[in-house]
Amino acid sequence: MPYNLKEIIAEKPVRFTAGHRMCAGCGCPPAMRMILRALHPEDHAVVSVATGCMEVSTFIYPYTSWTDSFIHTAFECSAATMSGVEAAYQSMKKQGKLPQDKNTKFLAFGGDGGTYDIGLQSLSGAMERGHDMVYVCYDNGAYMNTGIQRSSATPHFADTTTSPAGKVIPGKMQPRKDLTEILEAHHLPYVAQTIGVNNFKDLYEKAEKAIYTEGPTFLNVLAPCPRGWGYPTDMLMQINKLAIDTCYWPLYEIENGVYKITYKPAKKLPIEEFLKPQKRFKHLFQPGNEWMIEAFQKEVDDRWEKLLQLEKATSEPNAEAK
């Protein structure tokens, strides 16, 4: 069945309900809701979320936005917690302690703080052990929950509260970590980078693939933050679009080592288009700081070029030649 947004919204139940306290203009809730819609309606799910915006705004005792089973333990161990849940499921199912005709799927979520940084070990361990789960990182590029401190996902030169653009040091001086590639180095059956954009087809299809591929899978979802990035809340979808049209956030998937870029902009926009609407990059546009934009553009170009090469190198004819 070809993807149809209207039909999906009409037919698939909302498993992440309204009433949560995430900010207006945040990229996370629409993406999360869509990912959960990719679950088959007859399947039960257990969701685990790392401490962060998503957790503290969606499950404030005694209210919850999650209609599936949900567990939060701490910041760095969403993946490890879920590995215990999944291990319990496998064990109990094998022993006949759970109904045999009912499927449960396992989705672990974490922000970039809980995934790129403090939770990287726990994630790596869970993926290597091969638990049948999907880990979703919602990457908003800093520790937003504690008030916009830099993370290893924070882009080069961004102004954050622990990498402030000062008189001597102009923001975060290190380029961002490429987590998707780190996960690919775990040789997972499915790894993808996506975003909630246009009709959400890319996000939905990758989510469905990730959830229903057996074994550990990983989704990296860019989730803009109006407070941390400094854009007007009604601009979310434009920011998402600019992220992919400038190739700042390439959309691609890796199935058993084979790269496929799922969106190649007809006209790759200059990185300024993405940077300009965001206050965290304001200082890049001051006279004398042109070198920063040039460096940023080069980084984006290099990574995009590398990705094109990886796609070419792993594409089907080449794979057969091996």
């Binding site: 499950f59 939060h72 022993q95």
Partner: protein, 394 residues
């Protein structure tokens, strides 16, 4: 008929786990508890148990996975020591606050630093206020027995708290002793099946676990945890009684060894109690009225019961195998002195910090403690109550 065996403390713990047959074990190796997951992995590999063994990449993940598994509706167990427990520390509190009856074997070892792999109780003392039930074991038999009773206590509907069974690293974990094991089917029947009321894997009733719990609620939730810990006292006694019927081995909050008519006594935990019993017997032969109170249940702390059991004594020495570094005294000493004060029992009490980092504690040294107690009784003077045993002064 029970089975007579010869097992090390770690083998005893692993054997208990095998007979309990939990759904999930998540563990990470650390000396001196490493053998427990090692032995257990063999049971898993040979299909002796139904358990899913999760070979996690750290102790933090071990406890996280146990929390996930137990919340999912499974029986989850782990084993660790010292720094492993330190790394779990954050999750230790979360496990008890989520009211998950996880059971852990804690093979006591000194917490770094400097690095030391030998026995003291600094690991256990670091989590004494974390809301876990803590049982201490003098020998391999007790480590085994305590584990068999663990789930019955932890999973009781009035309790629902995690539980750790402590034993002394190397001293008992690596010493082979005679042990009486129960038959597998008897253990199975005694331990029973785990039937949680609410669990993540119940697709008929999805639940949410681990909320943001703000000012309006956290206090009440903590109060409920405290209540559960109080309730554990009654349940521990009930389960121990039932266990006695099955095995003939009697357990309570503590063991009183020749204490009833004693004039002076030592209070201690774990393997040192064995050495102390030997000394008590020797002193009794000399006509000295020495006794011992060995604490088995450290959390919940049986304050009233201990105060009552010690009230007739003329002097008491509390032995702490961990220093609290607080310029006042060890943890067990402080708990017992405050229990005595609240019960208005005025007995002179001294504290000895001993056996740190695996330092041997000899019967001679234990004897010297009784000699000190005799001196306190004869002179009526109690000076310098916070003392050390077996440490070089220079």
């Amino acid at each position: 008929m029970s089975i007579r065996e010869r097992l090390s403390g770690n083998e005893a713990a692993a054997t208990a786990m095998k007979q309990i047959n939990p759904d999930v074990v998540a563990a990470f190796p650390i000396t001196p508890s490493t053998e427990i997951p090692q032995y257990f992995s063999t049971f898993v590999s040979n299909g002796t148990v139904d358990t899913n063994f999760v070979a996690v990449e750290s102790e933090h993940s071990a406890m996280s996975a146990c929390i996930g598994a137990e919340a999912a509706g499974a029986r989850a167990m782990t084993a660790t020591s010292a720094n492993g427990l330190s790394l779990m520390w954050e999750m230790i509190y979360i496990a008890s606050s989520l009211r998950l009856p996880i059971v852990m074997s804690l093979v006591n070892r000194a917490v770094s630093g400097p690095l030391n792999i030998h026995c003291d109780h600094s690991d256990a003392m670091g989590v004494r206020d974390s809301g876990w039930i803590m049982l201490f074991s003098e020998n391999n038999q007790e480590a085994y027995d305590n584990l068999l009773m663990a789930h019955r206590i932890a999973e009781h509907k009035d309790v629902l708290l995690p539980l750790m069974v402590c034993q002394d690293g190397f001293i008992t974990s690596h010493s082979i002793e005679n042990i009486e094991l129960l038959e597998d089917d008897k253990v199975k029947e005694f331990v029973g099946t785990y039937k949680p009321e609410h669990y993540l894997l119940n697709s008929e009733e999805p639940i949410a676990v681990g909320p943001l719990d703000v000012q309006a609620y956290l206090f009440e939730h903590k109060r409920q945890q405290a209540e559960a810990m109080r309730n554990a006292k009654k349940v521990i006694l009930e389960v121990s009684k039932e266990f006695e019927k099955l095995t003939g081995r009697s357990y309570s909050f503590f063991e009183e060894y020749r204490l009833e008519d004693a004039e002076i006594a030592i209070v201690c935990m774990n393997s040192t109690a064995g050495t102390t019993k030997f000394v008590v017997d020797a002193l009794r032969n000399q006509g000295i009225k020495a006794g011992l109170l060995k604490v088995r249940v450290f959390r919940p702390f049986p304050a009233e019961e201990i105060a009552s059991a010690l009230s007739h004594l003329k002097a008491v020495a509390v032995l702490d195998k961990a220093d609290s570094l607080n310029a006042a005294g060890g943890a067990l000493y402080e708990d017992i002195t405050s229990a005595m004060y609240i019960a208005q029992k005025q007995v002179p009490m001294i504290n000895y910090v001993y056996g740190i980092g695996g330092r041997d504690t000899t019967s001679k040294e234990i004897e010297s403690v009784y000699t000190d107690l005799q001196k306190i009784v004869s002179t009526g003077k109690l000076e310098n109550p916070y003392r050390y045993l077996g440490v070089r002064s220079k």
